[in-house]
Amino acid sequence: MEKKLMKGCEAIGEAAICAGARLFFGYPITPQNEIPEYLSSRMPQVGGTFVQAESEVAASNMLYGASGAGKRVITSSSSPGISLMGEALSYMAGAELPAVIVSIMRAGPGLGGILPSQSDYFQATKGGGHGDYRVMVLAPETVQEAVDHTIKAFDYADKYRNPVIILADGILGQMMEPVTFPEPVRPEDLPEKPWATTGAKGRERNIVNSLYLNPDVLEERNWQLVKKYEAMREDVEFDTYHLDDEVDVMIVAYGTVARIARTAVDTMREQGMRVGLFRPVTVYPFPSDALAEAADKAGAVLTSELSTGQMLEDVKAAIAGKRPVEFFGRVGGNLMAPEEIVEQVTALMERQGRSVA
Protein backbone atom coordinates (compact mmCIF):
# COMPACT_ATOMS: atom_id res chain seq x y z
CA MET A 1 0.00 0.00 0.00
CA GLU A 2 1.26 3.39 -1.02
CA LYS A 3 2.06 5.83 1.74
CA LYS A 4 0.68 9.32 1.24
CA LEU A 5 1.47 12.47 3.16
CA MET A 6 -1.94 13.93 3.93
CA LYS A 7 -3.64 16.48 6.11
CA GLY A 8 -5.86 14.99 8.79
CA CYS A 9 -8.98 16.63 7.41
CA GLU A 10 -8.37 15.41 3.87
CA ALA A 11 -7.43 11.96 5.09
CA ILE A 12 -10.73 11.76 6.99
CA GLY A 13 -12.52 12.73 3.78
CA GLU A 14 -10.72 10.08 1.77
CA ALA A 15 -11.34 7.51 4.50
CA ALA A 16 -15.07 8.19 4.26
CA ILE A 17 -14.95 7.46 0.52
CA CYS A 18 -12.89 4.39 1.28
CA ALA A 19 -15.60 3.19 3.70
CA GLY A 20 -18.23 3.49 0.99
CA ALA A 21 -19.80 6.78 2.04
CA ARG A 22 -21.16 8.65 -0.93
CA LEU A 23 -23.10 11.38 0.85
CA PHE A 24 -21.74 14.36 2.73
CA PHE A 25 -23.91 17.10 4.24
CA GLY A 26 -22.37 20.02 6.05
CA TYR A 27 -21.93 23.69 6.62
CA PRO A 28 -18.56 25.48 6.69
CA ILE A 29 -16.78 26.35 9.90
CA THR A 30 -13.09 26.71 10.76
CA PRO A 31 -10.98 24.64 11.49
CA GLN A 32 -12.47 21.69 9.61
CA ASN A 33 -13.22 23.26 6.24
CA GLU A 34 -10.66 21.05 4.53
CA ILE A 35 -13.04 18.11 5.01
CA PRO A 36 -15.96 19.61 3.05
CA GLU A 37 -13.52 21.24 0.64
CA TYR A 38 -11.90 17.89 -0.10
CA LEU A 39 -15.17 16.04 -0.39
CA SER A 40 -16.80 18.70 -2.53
CA SER A 41 -14.38 17.75 -5.30
CA ARG A 42 -13.88 14.11 -4.36
CA MET A 43 -17.52 13.01 -3.96
CA PRO A 44 -18.49 13.74 -7.58
CA GLN A 45 -15.44 11.75 -8.77
CA VAL A 46 -16.84 8.62 -7.16
CA GLY A 47 -20.46 9.23 -8.05
CA GLY A 48 -21.26 10.65 -4.65
CA THR A 49 -23.05 13.78 -3.56
CA PHE A 50 -21.78 16.72 -1.57
CA VAL A 51 -24.37 19.11 -0.17
CA GLN A 52 -23.56 22.36 1.54
CA ALA A 53 -26.68 22.76 3.62
CA GLU A 54 -28.17 26.07 4.72
CA SER A 55 -27.17 25.40 8.33
CA GLU A 56 -25.85 22.71 10.62
CA VAL A 57 -29.41 22.03 11.78
CA ALA A 58 -30.34 21.28 8.18
CA ALA A 59 -27.18 19.25 7.51
CA SER A 60 -27.79 17.03 10.51
CA ASN A 61 -31.38 16.41 9.48
CA MET A 62 -30.26 15.55 5.94
CA LEU A 63 -27.97 13.03 7.61
CA TYR A 64 -31.00 11.59 9.41
CA GLY A 65 -32.95 11.28 6.18
CA ALA A 66 -30.19 9.77 4.08
CA SER A 67 -29.23 7.36 6.84
CA GLY A 68 -32.85 6.29 7.12
CA ALA A 69 -32.69 5.43 3.45
CA GLY A 70 -29.85 3.02 4.24
CA LYS A 71 -26.85 4.97 2.99
CA ARG A 72 -23.50 5.50 4.68
CA VAL A 73 -23.51 9.20 5.52
CA ILE A 74 -21.09 11.63 7.10
CA THR A 75 -20.98 15.21 8.26
CA SER A 76 -18.26 17.26 9.85
CA SER A 77 -18.26 20.44 11.84
CA SER A 78 -16.66 22.25 14.71
CA SER A 79 -17.92 23.20 18.15
CA PRO A 80 -20.76 25.72 17.53
CA GLY A 81 -21.82 23.72 14.50
CA ILE A 82 -21.90 20.48 16.47
CA SER A 83 -24.08 22.18 19.09
CA LEU A 84 -26.64 22.84 16.37
CA MET A 85 -26.72 19.13 15.57
CA GLY A 86 -27.71 18.07 19.11
CA GLU A 87 -31.38 17.60 18.33
CA ALA A 88 -30.77 15.52 15.20
CA LEU A 89 -28.17 13.41 16.99
CA SER A 90 -30.74 12.54 19.63
CA TYR A 91 -33.26 11.76 16.89
CA MET A 92 -30.79 9.50 15.09
CA ALA A 93 -29.96 7.70 18.31
CA GLY A 94 -33.69 7.39 19.04
CA ALA A 95 -34.46 6.04 15.58
CA GLU A 96 -31.31 3.88 15.70
CA LEU A 97 -29.74 5.34 12.60
CA PRO A 98 -26.06 4.92 11.77
CA ALA A 99 -24.13 8.07 10.87
CA VAL A 100 -20.62 9.42 11.25
CA ILE A 101 -20.09 12.88 12.70
CA VAL A 102 -16.63 14.40 12.66
CA SER A 103 -16.24 16.91 15.48
CA ILE A 104 -13.09 18.99 15.12
CA MET A 105 -13.09 20.87 18.40
CA ARG A 106 -12.16 24.54 18.63
CA ALA A 107 -11.88 26.71 21.70
CA GLY A 108 -15.14 27.81 23.32
CA PRO A 109 -17.56 28.65 24.73
CA GLY A 110 -19.60 30.57 22.19
CA LEU A 111 -17.68 31.74 19.15
CA GLY A 112 -14.50 31.37 21.21
CA GLY A 113 -11.51 30.94 18.94
CA ILE A 114 -10.51 28.67 16.09
CA LEU A 115 -7.51 27.03 17.74
CA PRO A 116 -7.38 23.46 19.05
CA SER A 117 -9.40 22.40 22.06
CA GLN A 118 -10.89 19.37 23.75
CA SER A 119 -13.67 21.21 25.48
CA ASP A 120 -16.52 19.43 23.70
CA TYR A 121 -15.78 16.14 25.44
CA PHE A 122 -18.92 16.39 27.58
CA GLN A 123 -21.00 17.26 24.56
CA ALA A 124 -19.77 14.19 22.70
CA THR A 125 -19.70 11.67 25.52
CA LYS A 126 -22.60 12.73 27.75
CA GLY A 127 -24.89 13.73 24.93
CA GLY A 128 -25.35 17.32 23.82
CA GLY A 129 -28.87 16.43 22.84
CA HIS A 130 -31.74 15.38 25.07
CA GLY A 131 -32.76 11.98 26.32
CA ASP A 132 -30.99 8.86 27.40
CA TYR A 133 -28.84 8.35 24.35
CA ARG A 134 -25.16 7.77 23.85
CA VAL A 135 -22.96 7.87 20.82
CA MET A 136 -19.75 6.01 20.35
CA VAL A 137 -16.84 8.45 20.35
CA LEU A 138 -13.43 7.71 18.84
CA ALA A 139 -10.52 10.01 19.58
CA PRO A 140 -7.66 9.55 17.10
CA GLU A 141 -4.21 10.97 17.81
CA THR A 142 -2.52 10.46 14.43
CA VAL A 143 -3.64 11.01 10.87
CA GLN A 144 -3.38 7.27 10.27
CA GLU A 145 -5.63 6.67 13.25
CA ALA A 146 -8.03 9.32 11.94
CA VAL A 147 -8.27 7.26 8.75
CA ASP A 148 -8.67 3.99 10.60
CA HIS A 149 -11.19 5.45 13.01
CA THR A 150 -13.27 6.96 10.23
CA ILE A 151 -13.51 3.60 8.52
CA LYS A 152 -14.22 1.83 11.80
CA ALA A 153 -16.77 4.50 12.68
CA PHE A 154 -18.88 3.53 9.69
CA ASP A 155 -18.63 -0.11 10.68
CA TYR A 156 -19.53 0.61 14.30
CA ALA A 157 -22.37 2.88 13.20
CA ASP A 158 -23.84 0.05 11.14
CA LYS A 159 -23.07 -2.60 13.75
CA TYR A 160 -24.82 -0.69 16.52
CA ARG A 161 -27.23 1.30 14.36
CA ASN A 162 -26.11 4.41 16.15
CA PRO A 163 -24.30 7.66 15.40
CA VAL A 164 -20.54 7.60 15.93
CA ILE A 165 -18.47 10.70 16.58
CA ILE A 166 -14.85 11.18 15.55
CA LEU A 167 -13.59 13.60 18.19
CA ALA A 168 -10.44 15.49 17.27
CA ASP A 169 -9.04 18.97 17.21
CA GLY A 170 -7.52 21.41 14.76
CA ILE A 171 -4.04 19.98 15.23
CA LEU A 172 -5.06 16.62 13.86
CA GLY A 173 -7.18 18.28 11.21
CA GLN A 174 -4.39 20.51 9.91
CA MET A 175 -1.40 18.23 10.45
CA MET A 176 0.09 16.12 7.66
CA GLU A 177 1.40 12.65 8.38
CA PRO A 178 2.02 9.62 6.21
CA VAL A 179 -1.04 7.42 5.80
CA THR A 180 -2.07 4.35 3.97
CA PHE A 181 -5.62 3.42 3.06
CA PRO A 182 -7.09 -0.05 2.95
CA GLU A 183 -8.77 -1.39 -0.17
CA PRO A 184 -11.86 0.81 -0.69
CA VAL A 185 -15.27 -0.72 -0.13
CA ARG A 186 -17.74 -0.37 -2.97
CA PRO A 187 -21.06 0.89 -1.62
CA GLU A 188 -22.88 -1.83 -3.52
CA ASP A 189 -20.85 -4.48 -1.70
CA LEU A 190 -21.88 -3.29 1.77
CA PRO A 191 -24.26 -5.55 3.68
CA GLU A 192 -27.92 -4.73 3.12
CA LYS A 193 -29.85 -2.81 5.75
CA PRO A 194 -33.16 -4.61 6.03
CA TRP A 195 -34.57 -1.88 8.27
CA ALA A 196 -33.97 0.97 5.82
CA THR A 197 -36.71 2.86 4.02
CA THR A 198 -35.73 1.91 0.49
CA GLY A 199 -39.19 1.75 -1.05
CA ALA A 200 -41.36 -1.05 0.27
CA LYS A 201 -41.65 -3.02 -2.95
CA GLY A 202 -42.54 -6.62 -2.23
CA ARG A 203 -42.13 -6.36 1.51
CA GLU A 204 -43.69 -4.82 4.61
CA ARG A 205 -42.94 -1.13 4.84
CA ASN A 206 -40.18 -0.07 7.21
CA ILE A 207 -40.72 2.81 9.59
CA VAL A 208 -37.88 5.00 10.83
CA ASN A 209 -39.05 7.02 13.81
CA SER A 210 -38.26 7.92 17.38
CA LEU A 211 -41.82 8.69 18.54
CA TYR A 212 -43.30 6.26 21.06
CA LEU A 213 -46.30 7.75 22.83
CA ASN A 214 -46.94 4.63 24.88
CA PRO A 215 -44.64 4.93 27.88
CA ASP A 216 -44.35 1.17 28.36
CA VAL A 217 -43.17 0.75 24.80
CA LEU A 218 -40.78 3.69 25.07
CA GLU A 219 -39.45 2.47 28.41
CA GLU A 220 -38.77 -0.95 26.92
CA ARG A 221 -36.94 0.75 24.04
CA ASN A 222 -34.94 2.89 26.42
CA TRP A 223 -33.65 -0.13 28.32
CA GLN A 224 -32.88 -1.89 25.04
CA LEU A 225 -30.81 1.13 24.03
CA VAL A 226 -28.97 0.94 27.36
CA LYS A 227 -28.13 -2.68 26.60
CA LYS A 228 -26.80 -1.63 23.24
CA TYR A 229 -24.64 1.08 24.78
CA GLU A 230 -23.32 -1.47 27.26
CA ALA A 231 -22.60 -3.87 24.41
CA MET A 232 -20.38 -1.21 22.86
CA ARG A 233 -17.92 -2.01 25.66
CA GLU A 234 -16.71 -4.91 23.58
CA ASP A 235 -15.17 -2.37 21.23
CA VAL A 236 -13.57 -0.24 23.91
CA GLU A 237 -10.02 0.77 22.96
CA PHE A 238 -7.11 2.23 24.82
CA ASP A 239 -3.39 2.47 24.57
CA THR A 240 -0.67 2.38 27.21
CA TYR A 241 2.88 3.64 27.18
CA HIS A 242 5.41 2.62 29.83
CA LEU A 243 2.77 1.15 32.08
CA ASP A 244 4.03 -2.42 32.22
CA ASP A 245 5.60 -1.88 35.63
CA GLU A 246 4.61 0.22 38.58
CA VAL A 247 4.77 3.96 38.05
CA ASP A 248 4.78 6.90 40.41
CA VAL A 249 2.55 8.92 38.12
CA MET A 250 0.24 7.77 35.38
CA ILE A 251 -0.78 10.46 32.91
CA VAL A 252 -4.19 10.11 31.29
CA ALA A 253 -4.65 11.98 28.03
CA TYR A 254 -6.30 11.48 24.65
CA GLY A 255 -5.88 12.83 21.14
CA THR A 256 -3.33 15.57 20.63
CA VAL A 257 -2.56 15.84 24.34
CA ALA A 258 -1.62 12.17 24.41
CA ARG A 259 1.05 12.89 21.79
CA ILE A 260 2.43 15.73 23.85
CA ALA A 261 2.30 13.59 26.97
CA ARG A 262 4.21 10.83 25.20
CA THR A 263 7.03 13.25 24.47
CA ALA A 264 6.93 14.28 28.13
CA VAL A 265 7.08 10.64 29.24
CA ASP A 266 10.14 10.07 27.03
CA THR A 267 11.86 13.06 28.61
CA MET A 268 11.03 11.88 32.14
CA ARG A 269 12.00 8.28 31.46
CA GLU A 270 15.39 9.55 30.26
CA GLN A 271 15.68 11.23 33.65
CA GLY A 272 14.84 7.96 35.36
CA MET A 273 11.36 8.99 36.45
CA ARG A 274 8.77 6.23 36.72
CA VAL A 275 6.01 7.71 34.59
CA GLY A 276 3.63 6.25 32.01
CA LEU A 277 0.69 7.21 29.85
CA PHE A 278 -2.83 5.82 29.58
CA ARG A 279 -4.61 6.93 26.42
CA PRO A 280 -8.34 6.32 25.97
CA VAL A 281 -8.90 5.69 22.27
CA THR A 282 -12.65 5.29 22.57
CA VAL A 283 -13.80 7.99 24.97
CA TYR A 284 -17.32 6.57 24.88
CA PRO A 285 -17.40 3.80 25.86
CA PHE A 286 -14.73 4.98 28.25
CA PRO A 287 -12.08 2.36 29.14
CA SER A 288 -12.96 2.58 32.85
CA ASP A 289 -12.05 -0.96 33.80
CA ALA A 290 -8.68 -0.89 32.10
CA LEU A 291 -7.96 2.52 33.57
CA ALA A 292 -8.89 1.39 37.08
CA GLU A 293 -6.62 -1.61 36.68
CA ALA A 294 -3.76 0.54 35.43
CA ALA A 295 -4.29 2.96 38.32
CA ASP A 296 -3.74 0.11 40.77
CA LYS A 297 -0.11 0.13 39.69
CA ALA A 298 0.27 3.91 39.87
CA GLY A 299 1.02 6.16 42.81
CA ALA A 300 -1.04 9.01 41.49
CA VAL A 301 -2.84 10.06 38.34
CA LEU A 302 -2.53 13.24 36.29
CA THR A 303 -5.30 13.92 33.81
CA SER A 304 -4.29 16.36 31.13
CA GLU A 305 -6.70 17.87 28.65
CA LEU A 306 -7.34 20.91 26.50
CA SER A 307 -10.34 21.70 28.68
CA THR A 308 -11.01 22.92 32.18
CA GLY A 309 -11.61 19.33 33.29
CA GLN A 310 -14.10 17.21 31.40
CA MET A 311 -12.59 13.77 30.82
CA LEU A 312 -11.37 14.29 34.37
CA GLU A 313 -14.84 13.32 35.60
CA ASP A 314 -14.69 9.97 33.81
CA VAL A 315 -11.18 9.35 35.08
CA LYS A 316 -12.24 10.07 38.65
CA ALA A 317 -15.31 7.89 38.25
CA ALA A 318 -13.19 5.00 36.99
CA ILE A 319 -10.62 5.31 39.75
CA ALA A 320 -13.34 5.86 42.38
CA GLY A 321 -11.14 7.47 44.99
CA LYS A 322 -8.51 4.72 45.03
CA ARG A 323 -5.72 7.02 43.87
CA PRO A 324 -5.27 10.79 43.95
CA VAL A 325 -6.32 12.23 40.60
CA GLU A 326 -4.96 15.63 39.67
CA PHE A 327 -5.57 17.79 36.68
CA PHE A 328 -3.59 19.91 34.24
CA GLY A 329 -5.43 21.67 31.46
CA ARG A 330 -4.66 24.34 28.91
CA VAL A 331 -7.52 26.03 27.15
CA GLY A 332 -8.50 28.85 24.84
CA GLY A 333 -6.60 27.31 21.93
CA ASN A 334 -3.28 27.04 23.74
CA LEU A 335 -1.50 23.70 23.91
CA MET A 336 0.68 22.57 26.76
CA ALA A 337 4.32 21.97 25.91
CA PRO A 338 5.80 18.61 26.91
CA GLU A 339 7.94 20.56 29.38
CA GLU A 340 4.83 21.80 31.17
CA ILE A 341 3.64 18.25 31.67
CA VAL A 342 7.06 17.31 33.03
CA GLU A 343 6.76 20.19 35.49
CA GLN A 344 3.28 19.12 36.57
CA VAL A 345 4.30 15.52 37.06
CA THR A 346 7.38 16.55 39.03
CA ALA A 347 5.30 18.77 41.29
CA LEU A 348 2.72 16.03 41.76
CA MET A 349 5.44 13.53 42.70
CA GLU A 350 6.80 15.94 45.24
CA ARG A 351 3.36 16.45 46.72
CA GLN A 352 3.01 12.70 46.92
CA GLY A 353 6.32 12.53 48.75
CA ARG A 354 7.99 10.54 46.01
CA SER A 355 11.56 11.30 45.21
CA VAL A 356 12.14 12.67 41.76
CA ALA A 357 15.14 10.77 40.43
Binding site: L5, Q174, P178, T263, A337, E339
Partner: protein, 180 residues
Protein backbone atom coordinates in the same frame (compact mmCIF):
# COMPACT_ATOMS: atom_id res chain seq x y z
CA UNK B 1 16.95 10.97 17.23
CA UNK B 2 14.27 13.51 16.38
CA UNK B 3 14.60 16.84 14.56
CA UNK B 4 12.10 19.61 14.89
CA UNK B 5 12.31 22.37 12.31
CA UNK B 6 10.36 25.59 12.12
CA UNK B 7 10.06 27.09 8.64
CA UNK B 8 8.83 30.65 8.52
CA UNK B 9 8.35 33.51 6.11
CA UNK B 10 5.61 35.69 4.75
CA UNK B 11 2.61 34.32 2.95
CA UNK B 12 3.53 33.37 -0.62
CA UNK B 13 7.17 32.57 0.07
CA UNK B 14 6.37 28.89 0.04
CA UNK B 15 7.49 27.84 3.51
CA UNK B 16 4.60 25.37 3.79
CA UNK B 17 5.75 23.74 0.54
CA UNK B 18 9.40 23.31 1.52
CA UNK B 19 8.24 21.96 4.87
CA UNK B 20 6.18 19.44 3.03
CA UNK B 21 9.12 18.49 0.80
CA UNK B 22 11.26 17.76 3.87
CA UNK B 23 8.45 15.65 5.29
CA UNK B 24 8.02 13.82 2.00
CA UNK B 25 11.73 13.15 1.66
CA UNK B 26 11.79 11.93 5.25
CA UNK B 27 8.81 9.70 4.58
CA UNK B 28 10.47 8.23 1.49
CA UNK B 29 13.43 7.55 3.74
CA UNK B 30 11.11 5.50 5.98
CA UNK B 31 11.36 7.92 8.83
CA UNK B 32 8.52 9.19 10.99
CA UNK B 33 7.39 12.64 9.92
CA UNK B 34 4.81 15.27 10.80
CA UNK B 35 4.04 18.57 9.13
CA UNK B 36 2.01 21.12 11.01
CA UNK B 37 1.07 24.56 9.72
CA UNK B 38 0.40 27.40 12.08
CA UNK B 39 -3.23 28.35 11.73
CA UNK B 40 -5.54 30.75 13.40
CA UNK B 41 -4.48 34.18 14.64
CA UNK B 42 -0.80 33.38 13.99
CA UNK B 43 -1.60 33.36 10.29
CA UNK B 44 -2.68 36.98 10.40
CA UNK B 45 -0.40 39.81 9.39
CA UNK B 46 1.03 37.91 6.47
CA UNK B 47 3.38 35.70 8.44
CA UNK B 48 3.27 32.04 7.84
CA UNK B 49 5.06 29.11 9.40
CA UNK B 50 5.01 25.40 9.77
CA UNK B 51 6.73 22.85 11.93
CA UNK B 52 8.21 19.68 10.51
CA UNK B 53 9.32 16.86 12.75
CA UNK B 54 11.47 14.01 11.41
CA UNK B 55 12.42 11.14 13.67
CA UNK B 56 13.01 7.45 14.10
CA UNK B 57 10.22 6.69 16.51
CA UNK B 58 6.57 7.66 16.84
CA UNK B 59 6.40 11.44 17.00
CA UNK B 60 4.80 13.09 19.98
CA UNK B 61 3.92 16.73 19.69
CA UNK B 62 3.84 17.93 16.07
CA UNK B 63 4.58 21.45 17.21
CA UNK B 64 7.61 22.65 19.06
CA UNK B 65 8.41 25.49 21.37
CA UNK B 66 12.10 24.46 21.32
CA UNK B 67 12.85 23.56 17.70
CA UNK B 68 16.23 22.15 16.76
CA UNK B 69 16.40 24.21 13.59
CA UNK B 70 14.91 27.29 11.95
CA UNK B 71 14.59 28.35 8.34
CA UNK B 72 13.74 32.06 8.29
CA UNK B 73 12.84 33.55 4.93
CA UNK B 74 12.18 37.06 6.23
CA UNK B 75 13.11 39.27 9.16
CA UNK B 76 9.91 38.98 11.24
CA UNK B 77 10.40 35.21 11.18
CA UNK B 78 13.92 35.48 12.51
CA UNK B 79 12.76 37.95 15.15
CA UNK B 80 9.97 35.69 16.24
CA UNK B 81 11.73 32.33 16.38
CA UNK B 82 15.42 33.01 16.89
CA UNK B 83 15.33 32.67 20.66
CA UNK B 84 13.46 29.37 20.55
CA UNK B 85 16.11 27.41 18.62
CA UNK B 86 18.00 24.94 20.75
CA UNK B 87 21.72 25.50 21.24
CA UNK B 88 23.69 23.79 18.54
CA UNK B 89 20.84 23.98 16.05
CA UNK B 90 20.92 25.40 12.55
CA UNK B 91 19.44 28.73 11.59
CA UNK B 92 19.13 29.33 7.86
CA UNK B 93 18.53 32.99 7.07
CA UNK B 94 17.58 34.50 3.76
CA UNK B 95 20.01 37.42 3.56
CA UNK B 96 18.18 38.83 0.54
CA UNK B 97 15.48 39.95 2.96
CA UNK B 98 17.15 39.79 6.37
CA UNK B 99 19.56 42.60 7.05
CA UNK B 100 20.86 41.38 10.39
CA UNK B 101 22.69 38.39 11.75
CA UNK B 102 21.11 36.34 14.55
CA UNK B 103 22.11 37.50 18.04
CA UNK B 104 22.68 33.90 19.04
CA UNK B 105 26.24 32.61 18.94
CA UNK B 106 25.40 29.09 20.11
CA UNK B 107 23.82 28.06 16.83
CA UNK B 108 25.12 27.12 13.45
CA UNK B 109 24.34 29.94 11.05
CA UNK B 110 23.75 29.34 7.36
CA UNK B 111 23.24 32.56 5.41
CA UNK B 112 21.93 32.39 1.87
CA UNK B 113 20.89 35.23 -0.43
CA UNK B 114 17.94 33.08 -1.43
CA UNK B 115 16.05 35.55 -3.56
CA UNK B 116 19.11 36.60 -5.52
CA UNK B 117 20.08 33.02 -6.25
CA UNK B 118 16.51 32.10 -7.14
CA UNK B 119 16.45 34.86 -9.75
CA UNK B 120 19.66 33.45 -11.21
CA UNK B 121 18.06 29.99 -11.21
CA UNK B 122 15.18 31.28 -13.28
CA UNK B 123 12.43 32.42 -10.91
CA UNK B 124 12.34 34.75 -7.92
CA UNK B 125 9.68 32.46 -6.47
CA UNK B 126 12.22 29.68 -5.96
CA UNK B 127 13.89 31.41 -3.00
CA UNK B 128 12.30 28.84 -0.68
CA UNK B 129 14.06 26.07 -2.65
CA UNK B 130 17.43 27.71 -2.20
CA UNK B 131 16.89 27.85 1.57
CA UNK B 132 15.67 24.27 1.55
CA UNK B 133 18.80 23.08 -0.25
CA UNK B 134 21.04 24.99 2.14
CA UNK B 135 19.27 23.48 5.14
CA UNK B 136 19.50 19.95 3.73
CA UNK B 137 23.23 20.30 3.23
CA UNK B 138 23.89 21.85 6.63
CA UNK B 139 21.74 19.41 8.57
CA UNK B 140 22.15 16.21 6.60
CA UNK B 141 18.56 15.48 7.60
CA UNK B 142 17.50 14.76 4.04
CA UNK B 143 19.66 14.20 0.98
CA UNK B 144 19.77 16.33 -2.15
CA UNK B 145 18.73 13.29 -4.17
CA UNK B 146 15.80 12.67 -1.86
CA UNK B 147 14.63 16.26 -2.27
CA UNK B 148 15.02 16.26 -6.02
CA UNK B 149 13.11 13.00 -6.15
CA UNK B 150 10.09 14.35 -4.28
CA UNK B 151 10.30 17.59 -6.27
CA UNK B 152 10.13 15.68 -9.51
CA UNK B 153 7.20 13.61 -8.27
CA UNK B 154 5.35 16.72 -7.11
CA UNK B 155 6.01 18.70 -10.22
CA UNK B 156 5.72 15.92 -12.80
CA UNK B 157 3.13 17.97 -14.66
CA UNK B 158 5.31 21.06 -14.85
CA UNK B 159 8.82 19.99 -15.98
CA UNK B 160 9.93 23.59 -16.53
CA UNK B 161 9.15 24.57 -12.97
CA UNK B 162 10.67 21.32 -11.76
CA UNK B 163 13.90 22.20 -13.56
CA UNK B 164 14.06 25.70 -12.01
CA UNK B 165 13.43 24.22 -8.57
CA UNK B 166 16.05 21.53 -9.10
CA UNK B 167 18.60 24.18 -9.95
CA UNK B 168 17.57 26.36 -7.01
CA UNK B 169 17.65 23.57 -4.46
CA UNK B 170 21.02 22.38 -5.80
CA UNK B 171 22.54 25.87 -5.62
CA UNK B 172 21.24 26.19 -2.07
CA UNK B 173 22.71 22.79 -1.27
CA UNK B 174 26.15 23.85 -2.49
CA UNK B 175 26.01 27.02 -0.43
CA UNK B 176 24.87 25.13 2.65
CA UNK B 177 27.70 22.62 2.27
CA UNK B 178 30.21 25.42 1.82
CA UNK B 179 28.86 27.25 4.84
CA UNK B 180 29.11 24.12 6.97
Amino acid sequence: MQSEIILAGFGGQGVLLIGKLIALAGMDDNREVTWMPAYGPEMRGGTCNCTVVVGDKKIGSPISKRPHHLIALNLPSLDKFEDEVRPGGIIVTNTSLINRRPKRDDIKLVEVPANAIAIEAGSPRAANMVALGAFAAASGLVTLEGLIDVLDKNLAKNPKLAEINRVAVSRGYELGRAGA
